[in-house]
Amino acid sequence: MLIFLYLFLIGLAAGLIGSIIGIGGGIIIVPFLSLALKVPIHIAIGTSIIAVLMTSLTASRIFLKKNTTNIELGLTLEIPTTFGGIIGSIAVAYLKNKVLFIIFGCFAISAGIFTYFKNTYFQNKNQRENITTTQEINTSKDSIFDSKYYDETTGKAYKYKVKNVLYGSIASLFAGLSSGLLGVGGGVIKVPAMNIFMNVPIKVATATSNYMIGITAVVSSIIYFYNGYINPFITIPVVIGVLIGATTGSFTAEKLKSSQIVIIILTIFIAIGILMFLRAFNVIAY
């Protein structure tokens, strides 16, 4: 029975850290399950994708309530994302464990770097862009993706005009691929792509990405489910842990956020990446 406690604690940590730094828990769940508990990596990825689905749905509820999610944009970008998800989910069955560990290692390091920039550069950039976008929107024609949102921190409503949907679609294809292949949400690709290429404010990008992650996870989940990579005895304790961790984290996130914590998280992600590389080349057995 002790194993279920470990699984629950892994979910709890993933949910807590994920909600504090604004990512899904997949990037934490897969290494912990595969490296610490020796769960086969395909089953670890299957478990992770269900946990990511749970995190996404829980967060989406809050964002939908606040009208931050751009559903029109999310659905449009979902078409390339789900295609990527299908390709990734099929490819995973043909890839050797070593290759999966290497890909995951690269992804973990990239995600760490993204998280650092998201919490430093992107937030500052977002403040400047909102002002510009509000002025531009009055002189140009609305598209189906243009919208507005209310920022609770500033107490103001901002309009924004979406551009470069093609670039966003290409980025979404890769996000879907990573989701299907590694059991992660892919938000680390979508959020900066929406913010940098498509002029979507970071809060809307995060909310829309969360909404999309739920739909993308369905594609991978169905394929993993049919292929036997989802074991309820592993998945359920992790999912419950994620749910409790994410809920707790969302209440404490604002208090805990600081540049020091972001640097700690960056270090953890890089360490996870290195461990996955070492595992790939059998430098560490488990």
């Binding site: 086969p40 089953i43 749905l57 989406s60 078409i79 789900t82 990579y229 309820p232 359920i236």
Partner: protein, 128 residues
């Protein structure tokens, strides 16, 4: 607040309700299935012996046939399956919403997403 914004608010609030209900049902089933199995001491997990591809549909069917606790075991799977279906229900609702408002572009986009979801189910089924 203009008309478009009111529509978006209605869409968002209804999606929120669908997600909330779906999450609750899935969670109750998953936890109930897990706890009942644990109480009956049916939860056995040896990760060292765990193989990949141990719980495919064929194996699941055989397990259900051979166990006297099939219904309870099925609850956990049903919970996970309902969780997977929640976003699908959201897409179906979005499609119905845009179609009812004669928004052709977004109806087509929603249909596209729904078709890809169905395609993934077909691909998964074929690969068993």
């Amino acid at each position: 607040m203009n008309k478009k914004e009111i529509k978006q608010t209605l869409l968002n609030s209804n999606l929120n309700k669908i997600i909330t209900v779906g999450l609750l049902v899935a969670l109750i089933l998953m936890v109930a299935g897990f706890l009942v199995n644990a109480a009956r001491n049916n939860v056995a997990l040896d990760i060292e012996e765990l193989e990949e591809n141990t719980l495919g549909l064929k194996e699941l069917y055989n397990t259900l046939k051979s166990t006297g606790n099939s219904i309870i075991f099925l609850l956990s799977y049903l919970g996970i399956f309902i969780l997977i279906l929640v976003p699908v229900a959201g897409v179906i609702f979005t499609l119905a919403y845009f179609t009812s408002r004669k928004n052709l572009k977004l109806s087509l986009i929603s249909t596209g997403v729904l078709l890809i979801l169905i395609l993934s189910a077909v691909i998964g089924f074929i690969r068993i």
